[in-house]
Every structure is written in structure tokens, then in C-alpha cells.
Amino acid sequence: MTLMYGIITGIVFGFLLQKARVLRYDKQLGALRLKDMTIVKFMLSNIIVAMLGIYFLKEFGLVELSVKATILGPNILGGLIFGLGWGLIGYCPGTSAGAVGEGRFDSLSGILGMLVGASLFAHTYPYLKSTIYQWGNFGKITLPDVLGVNQWIVLAGLVVCYLLILRLLERKGF
């Protein structure tokens, strides 16, 4: 059943990504070249709705958070390395799969590259574990934890920030 949920969720997600055109190299590079903010609009709308929904359900004990650990070394270095690769491939792991679905076959060599990269990572992990992973481990923390403020206040603040960013993008004509 878990596998069925997985494929159904994927199909709906892929459908929406394609309909918003965010799977495309041109849209992703458009954002990175600060010319076309379609993917940012898509991401922020997703985050606002998902954040409200997840925290609302969590309030009633219906869902649990699954927070990734904050370790400054890997988060920052890995994030920057991902970004550099992203600027070359023009797809992220999820959208590279979607790009194949709409016929953008340059993503196939990218997917092959990702398989090679994943293998490379697995085989260098023991070394990374004793170095980069040791730098700045704060565990599984959320913004409300860090600020020591009620989660609904932080959440409301973030929603306001995101809406202001979106309004700014619209005004600037992105």
C-alpha cells in the first residue's frame, strides 16, 4: 500500500510540476539568472500551504514532523555544491525525472550523472563522516526552537515574509 501511495503522490506531483512548467531547464536557469521567478512562486505557494496544513494537523496530533538535522558543515557545503551542479544540469533530482516525462531528454544524461554522483558520495562518505559532518551539529531543530517563540507566531511571521516576497516579485514584473 505504501508503494501505491508513493506512485499516486508522484503522479499528481509530476502532473502539477509539468502544468506549472517548473520542470524545465529554461525555468530553472531563468530563476538562477534572476529573469523568471516561476519556480520561486511555485515553491513559496507550496511551502505556505504545506506549512499551514502540517502545523495545523500536528496541533491535533494527526501528523509528526520529520526534521532533518542541522549540521552546518554538510548543510552549507553540500548546499553550495548542489547549487553549482544545479546551475549546470538545470534540473534538480525530482524535476530531472519529470523532464524525462515531457520529452526533455537532456535530463537523461543528468540522471546518469546523478547515479554516478550518488555512488561517489556513498564511497566517500566514511571520510566525510569523520570531517565535514563534525562541524557544527545542532541536531533536529526548527526555527521556533531556535527563537524560543511560539510556533504559530513564527509561522505567521514567515507567511507574511513569503507573501511580501511574492508581492515584490509581481511588482518587479518577474
Partner: protein
Amino acid sequence: MSNTGRPWNPYVAGALSGLLAVISVLVSGKYLGASTTFVRAVGMIESSLSQTLVENPYFQKYNLVIDWQFMFVVGIVIGSFIASQIDGSFRVQSTPDMWKERFGKAWRPRAIVSFVGGVIAIYGARLAGGCPSGHGLSGLAQMSVSGFIAASCFFIGGIIMARIVYGRG
């Protein structure tokens, strides 16, 4: 939906995908993500070649089997295929338009850059602990500090590389 080739408003599609993320967590307890699947896929390939290849602490962290997220990624291909068939936007293309304008329509240079980009991107995503869906969407929706850090770094690195590839303007 009836208009052929017309994209949906990104706010509408984004909000619907956010709703999908909430339903997924409620129904199956799963947050959207994609990059672990590449680890599982290559792990399964390597274990079919030789079991000793996957006797390493990273592969050992994961069950090298087809799981929820693996099916999720397969689903993305199908969903995108269906959507692009419905509105006629499916195109077999081996060089994206923006790339073509700058570097021409030869497919080989694009394939090589795409491959190299893929190697670097997934290496970084695994080190960071997730990709734009895992860290970006799911992380930020949970107000995870790692999500804010990783997502900012994704864009910083990406903007730098886009500038290297395309120059100013």
C-alpha cells in the same frame, strides 16, 4: 485545462502541490523528497554486481529496495508525461531553448554538461541531507533550520554557476 499548451498559474499549481504534500504526510506519513532514490537505485545496481560494493556505511543506512520515495519519483515521470500529453506540450528535445540560444543546438555538449552537473548536484544534495524537495519544500514547510540553510545555499551556488555559464545579463 482545455487550453492547449497553456501553463497553469504557478501559484495555483504550487498551492495544490502544497495540499498534496499535506495529504501525503497525513495518509502515508511521508514527506516529499527525491534524492535518496538515486542512492537506492545505484546501490541496487552495485549490489547486483558485487555485494561487497554496498558493504559501506552509507548504503547500510538505507534498505536498498524499492520504497515509497522510489515509486514517488517514478510517479513524477508518469504524471509529467500525462500532463504534457493532455495539453500537447510534450516535446522530444535534447537541448533546451535557453541553452540553444547561447551554445547552439548540438546535443553532445549539453549532454556532457548535464552529466557533470548531475554528478555534482547529487553529491551536494546528499551531503546537504536533501534536495530542493526534501530540504527546500518539505524542510521549509516544517520550519526546519537545516531547510533554511540548505535552500539558501542551493540558490547561492546556483546563481553563481548560472553567472559562470551565461555571464551577466
